[in-house]
């Protein structure tokens, strides 16, 4: 039997000074979890379309309601943010953008870009379908 090696543990999250990239790392994970749950809505949409007019009307009643719209809006933002934040990870995977100013710029781009794309998509959606 070997004694269990006492490896240094990472300090608790409250020990660190909060940084932008650290906060956005948590947001990346949180949006991922939200999207995971949100696929239920996507599956419901496809199943409703395959089931018939009354099932589809039920779905549209939900997505047309205030709560429904809020959820779909949140889902849109989570998707856009996770997408851009993920592209940021691709840049890092390839070995670029690790300098302090570069990683800050990438992170701000993901944060602002996600919000801009979300608003843009909803403007287009309203222009096309009258927000139904």
């Amino acid at each position: 039997m070997t004694a269990r090696i006492e490896r240094p543990l990472s300090p608790h999250i409250q020990t660190y000074r909060w940084t932008l990239t650290m906060a956005l790392s948590i947001v990346h994970r949180a949006t991922g979890i939200a999207l995971y749950v949100g696929t239920l809505l996507l599956a419901w949409w496809l199943i409703a379309a395959a089931s018939g007019p009354s099932a589809y009307a039920n779905l549209q009643a939900f997505t047309g309601s205030f709560i429904g719209k809020l959820i779909v809006f949140g889902y849109t933002w989570a998707l856009m943010h996770h997408l851009l934040s993920g592209i940021r990870h691709f840049v890092w995977d390839l070995g670029y953008g690790f300098k302090a100013n570069e990683r800050e710029a990438l992170t701000w781009a993901a944060l602002i870009g996600g919000i801009v794309l979300t608003v843009l998509i909803w403007i287009i959606a309203y222009a096309i379908g009258g927000g139904r």
């Binding site: 991922g32 995971y36 199943i47 009258g130």
Partner: protein, 131 residues
């Protein structure tokens, strides 16, 4: 893990293909593969969804049943459910430390992702076949 001195295997040989997930870098690679697939597919997928906004059932069913649109959505469903299965497993492995609860959670994660994938795929195939 057995004492390294009792084995003739090299340290690399012992750990190869045995990461925290017991599957080496397979999940790491597939996470990025599916991410890239979705990055490429997101524009057509958004286009399809925006086309459907405000349409009634008949209009939506007709569009969803068309061949190129069904294929775009099928590719996106496979990539996204695979991606979220790997992602959630990482989250579970990070936070669930009880071994049995961890195994149960990972199993539930697999079931959930498979169910979402198959239900969505079946719905799309049904729309495509027009029954």
């Amino acid at each position: 893990m057995s004492d390294s001195r009792s084995s003739m295997r090299t340290p690399l040989g012992r750990v190869r293909n045995l990461g925290a997930s017991h599957s080496g870098t397979t999940d790491f690679w597939r996470q990025r593969l599916t991410a890239m697939a979705m990055t490429l597919l997101i524009v057509p997928v958004l286009f399809v969804i925006l086309t459907l906004v405000g349409r009634n059932h008949a209009g939506a069913a007709q569009i969803l049943g068309s061949l190129p649109i069904a294929i775009i959505l099928l590719l996106f469903i496979v990539a996204s459910t695979w991606h979220m299965k790997i992602g959630m497993q990482v989250v579970i492995e990070d936070y669930v430390h009880n071994e049995k609860l961890k195994l149960a959670s990972i199993m539930a994660n697999n079931f959930f992702c498979a169910a979402v994938a198959l239900a969505s795929i079946y719905a799309l195939l049904k729309l495509s076949s027009g029954v």
